[in-house]
Subunit: 372 residues, 2 copies
């Protein structure tokens, strides 16, 4: 199949360090190439891929100090994709809604995977106007703010064979990711202290979170149980995850998909997580970890972590969260979208969704109905 | 002619207070309706117009506390415009580069007026890729960062008959606009103090400029010569401008067009301005004001302000900066663009401007050549 993959331009594909969307686009792209498809990857010029690379810029925006207007780069890229849409059997876009008007006008079908949270009030009217463009969610929970959008599948992220299964853990808990209020590192620290088990924090602090780190987290680090190890690369992550008794993932925001959970399962390490966003879809309570609301429950979960078999965690990963599974599911959806496209049907006109001067209030009501 | 006017969605059209682009779109739209054209205005739903109004949202973004993602609204609007492009003879867009990929694919021609500064490095490659889309600048100076873009005209802003000519001024200088570092209110204050003439400051302070105001400007206000009158509406502006000896416009940034300069001329009030951006195109040194680099020169210019005839200022306004002149020039360009569109020609393909993995450095060289 002739497939276009359209990545965001903030990180290279794959990213050097952080950057969930670009990383998943990379995994999917390389797997599709391995399966023999003709893949063109639209991404920043420093990306590394076995696919044909087409780049609107030399460097990814976050590494490029000269970048002032990343949106302009995205517009340049999308224009190039859709001007030659007939060269593709499917255009798979990962850059949110920017492609919608072009997708409607193009001769080839677009599939749009939404990677972010969807609770902005503007998104209801926009996706309602483009109800003919098929959407993929990365968890069922992600759909909550937009239940009426044109969802055709939920496809969980998948990982290539990067993480080693580690049958025997060490004796520490792990917090991995960003230090930010919605990730709740403070909860992780208190749970470890109360359970009396060492905690390693392998996390970066973004500039926007420096105040939070200095005021809320640093005062909690003065305890020999708590060790801050900073940001780690792939190999360090593998070792840290593999050696951990459990990953603590006490998030307090509706994270559409938490990649670190499936990295943990790949190493055989169970996950103790708060039920937000995709958590209850990814972690099976009592089988691959414990899903807990309160700190009391999390402390109890740490004490019962021996009840979770590490082999069961790895098995769940292999069953649900490999890149092979993800790519196979996407290929099924690509095929379904192409077949559906061959059946002509009435498309709702975008301009029908715009307001004339008389119906502002109907519009507001409709918008708020879709975004509670 | 069937004309679509596409406004930004940040302010209503016309804006309640500040908002240069939306104000100019309003003046142009109303004048085109008055001339008998069939005009559709795409703008926020609270806009007030004699044209047909089509709105992707009820309220302009800056007044709408529920607005989280204005870009999504712009994408919805542009999709609606271009899905029915065949209903228009010309699509006149004022929302920067967002429309470019759609404009290329549309059956009706687009004319794009650029209202902002253009010195972001991403804009060179983008406008080079869309060299077939005609662009209008709002001053010649605005083109400096992108000399090779597809400019077809410079059309200065024009005002409707809102401002009364005031033959006899009072005895004060005026600073009108925003209090921000690049507008240099500090220069205006020092010039007034050294000239020994009262200064009225009719200006708003945006949240981003509060620190600048408190630290740099408030300490200068403790002088009976200097009076801060806050933000004013249209009628207050008219009186303040008409009564002023001169408008001080000591900007220190390349402002593409300073509407307040032509508002001042409409009242017959000369302008003392630093030669940045459009200043030297709008103000004729010695005829409608004084164009000065240094504070010394500005102080001298205040002392020589009697040499400028107020009637000459008004005459310059009537000759160059009325809405009739602006609309007539746009209609000429609309017609020229339609005629040019009928002649088929090879379009440079956008994807020719994208990088394959081998030519990153060529691309960087090309980009930097256009953006010195």
């Amino acid at each position: 199949m002739r497939i276009a993959q359209i990545a965001p331009l903030y990180e290279r594909v794959p990213p050097l360090m952080y950057g969930g969307t670009e990383r998943v686009v990379s995994y999917l792209t390389e797997e599709l190439v391995r399966l023999g498809h003709d893949v063109t990857l639209f991404a920043s010029g420093d990306s590394i891929t076995a696919a044909r690379l087409r780049a609107p810029c030399a460097l990814a925006a976050r590494l490029d100090t000269s970048c002032k207007d990343p949106l302009a780069r995205h517009i340049l890229m999308l224009g190039a994709v859709y001007e030659h849409a007939e060269e593709f059997d499917i255009i798979h876009c990962h850059t949110d809604y920017l492609c919608l008007p072009l997708a409607r006008l193009a001769p080839a079908p677009t599939l749009l995977t939404l990677h972010g949270r969807l609770d902005m009030p503007e998104l209801g009217p926009l996706y309602a106007a483009y109800a003919d463009i098929p959407l993929v969610s990365i968890s069922d929970e992600q759909r909550t703010p937009l239940p009426k959008a044109n969802w055709v599948a939920t496809i969980y992220h998948g990982l290539p064979d990067l993480y080693r299964y580690t049958p025997q853990s060490g004796r520490y808990l792990l917090f991995l990711g960003r230090i930010s209020p919605e990730k709740r590192p403070d909860t992780a620290i208190r749970v470890a202290q109360r359970a009396g088990i060492p905690l390693r924090i392998a996390a970066k602090v973004d500039p926007v979170d420096v105040d939070y780190f200095e005021n809320e987290i640093r005062p909690l680090l003065d305890d020999p149980l708590i060790e801050l190890v900073g940001e780690v690369g792939e190999e360090g992550k593998n070792e840290l995850l593999g050696g951990a008794l459990a990953l603590l993932f006490p998030i307090d925001w509706p994270e559409p998909f938490g990649l670190v959970m499936i990295e943990s399962l790949a190493c055989g390490t169970p996950v103790i997580a708060r039920p937000r966003g995709s958590v209850s879809e990814v972690i099976r309570h009592g089988e691959t970890g414990w899903v807990c609301e309160s700190e009391d429950e999390m402390v109890a979960a740490v004490q019962r972590i021996g009840e979770i078999e590490r082999a069961a965690c790895r098995a769940a990963f292999e069953r649900q969260f490999t890149v092979e599974t993800m790519a196979r599911r996407y290929l099924d959806v690509y095929e379904a979208v192409r077949v559906a496209r061959r059946v002509p049907r009435a498309q709702p006109a975008v301009s029908d969704k715009l307001l004339s001067a008389d119906d502002l209030y109907d519009h507001q009501a409709a918008a708020s109905a879709d975004t509670p």
